[in-house]
């Protein structure tokens, strides 16, 4: 049986949310190991859970991307055959891992992706995500990497600081540039708890008062414009740091 790890960085999320994420990993129909990475705010209770626990003293303030990279590479070194991700505020549906593994086996993929379902910050179901299509646009929670794609993990921590908050977009660009074979189950098996104020402001729902984040994810065109505005030598330097050059 293939050994699968799911990596979750955390930093100050309610323990009940992290416990829900952990339970959803333990309840996968394919046995899965959960690796939790405390990014500056370790929770001692997690030491007693059925999980691996890494503790980083410095909060990296990069939306979990550095602890995500470290947890995933730890799993790679332990010989896991497939490695996925789960944010501390989200959870997985029970067949998430099994469907990704089945797709990878059928199509010989190096990266497999799912879709996601949006949930209110209080946990109730909203609707299917209209943005993540698993082909052009990914969400980190939806991804599962296989060994030929493991070298992308370091990229999470090496993306330029000013655009680190969308490191997952850089990772997907890196995977495509390096010719890794990617496919999608087209099944929404990730429950995504929406915490962006912008999301609620553009809906008919009242804006929640707790656990809301003031961050607007830019359109891909804005990222491209930012990149093209850099001097050519700086673009080359950043590509070299990320190993894309």
């Amino acid at each position: 049986m293939r050994r699968v790890a799911i990596v979750t960085p955390y930093h100050g999320e309610p323990l009940a949310w992290i416990a829900k994420a952990n339970a959803s990993v333990r309840m996968q129909t394919h046995p899965t190991t959960h690796i939790l990475v405390g990014d500056g705010k370790p929770e001692p209770a997690i030491d007693r859970w059925d999980a691996q626990h890494i503790v980083m003293p410095a909060g990296h303030r990069d939306w979990g991307h550095t602890p995500r990279a470290i947890g995933a590479l730890s799993a790679a070194a332990q010989g896991f055959d497939a490695i996925g991700f789960l944010d501390a505020d989200n959870w997985l549906y029970p067949d998430h891992v099994a469907t990704l593994l089945a797709l990878q086996e059928r199509d010989g993929l190096e990266v497999a992706s799912s879709l996601r379902v949006m949930h209110h910050v209080d946990g109730r179901l909203l609707h299917r995500c209209q943005l993540v299509d698993g082909i052009e646009t990914f969400d980190t929670n939806c991804l599962m990497m296989f060994p030929p794609a493991y070298s992308c993990f370091a990229v999470f921590a090496l993306v330029p600081t000013s655009v680190r908050y969308i490191a997952d977009r850089w990772v997907s660009i890196w995977l495509k540039r390096r010719g890794r074979k990617i496919g999608c189950t087209f099944k929404a098996t990730v429950a995504y708890r929406v915490r962006y104020r912008h999301f609620y402001e553009t809906s008919t729902m009242p804006i929640p008062t707790e656990h809301i984040v003031d961050l607007k994810i830019p359109h891909p065109r804005e990222l491209r414009d930012w990149w093209l505005a850099l001097p050519a030598e700086e673009r080359e330097r950043q590509l070299r740091i990320m190993g894309a050059s």
């Binding site: 691996q52 890494i54 990296h60 030929p148 070298s151 992308c152």
Partner: protein
């Protein structure tokens, strides 16, 4: 340049770790010590002037996963260079300054030194003739600059057959990805040898429990192993490490 020095540790005596730590603090450059516990965190170490990372379990890969964790954390925090120091080794005076001088002159994206071998009790043996800093390297003699940081994750992707001597694979990755490599040519790292073969006729001491039966590593062995592989196997390893 702000330098991070990464030291993985597992069960080494705290005296050894302290000697290494003090040698980092005494380098006279802007250096921060990252000590990474590979499954056995030490409360004394946690109280030092350092960043202390705790991995929940021992990865049994000769410190490679802790090297990755410390290096990526440092890269993310904006350090300009990452150097390594094994838990049983220590830096000699001027080590980091000599590597940084090379880096600041733009001579190497990987800068290396040679090493001076010591017995397990800390007494000197002599210069190492196997590590030349260019075709063979020692982990404690390596300093990576930002444009070589793509290699920081490779520590965890080294082929299992050569995991004991991962620095040679890290060097190979950087050569494949056309990163420049420069060496000071000077032996500025003290390398404590734990092989019984390197500690003959030692009287019984409190370090006996830390001696190892296996012979010392031959840094050229990894390259010889690589040349025994089929093209298909080499291609697969290169793709897995992201050196394609």
């Amino acid at each position: 340049m702000r330098v991070a020095v990464v030291t993985p540790y597992f069960d080494e005596p705290v005296e050894w770790l302290r000697r290494g730590h003090e040698s980092v603090l005494g380098q006279g450059v802007d250096a921060t010590h990252f000590l990474v516990a590979d499954g056995r965190p030490d409360a004394t170490v946690a109280s030092w002037d350092c960043q202390h990372i705790v991995l929940c379990r021992n990865h049994a890969d000769w410190g490679n996963t802790p090297r990755m964790a410390g290096g990526l954390s440092a890269a993310s925090q904006g350090f300009d260079a990452v150097a390594y120091l094994d838990a049983d080794d220590w830096f000699l005076d001027g080590h980091l300054a000599s590597l940084l001088a090379l880096a600041e002159r733009g001579e190497g994206e990987l800068c290396t030194s040679r090493r001076l071998l010591h017995r397990i009790d800390g007494t000197a043996i002599g210069p190492c003739t196997r590590v030349d800093g260019t075709t063979t390297v020692d982990g404690s003699g390596m300093l990576l600059t930002r444009t070589a940081f793509a290699v920081l994750g490779v520590w965890c992707l080294v082929p299992p057959d050569v995991v004991r001597d991962a620095p040679q694979t890290v060097l190979g990755y950087l050569q494949l990805r056309r990163r420049s490599i420069a060496t000071t040519g000077r032996a500025t790292v003290a390398s404590r040898q734990r092989s019984r073969q390197m500690n003959p006729q030692m009287p019984p001491s409190r370090w006996d429990g830390h001696l190892r039966d296996e012979p010392p590593r031959d840094p050229a062995a990894a390259r010889r192993w690589w040349h025994t592989l089929t093209i298909a196997d080499r291609t697969a390893y290169i793709r897995r490490m992201g050196a394609d």
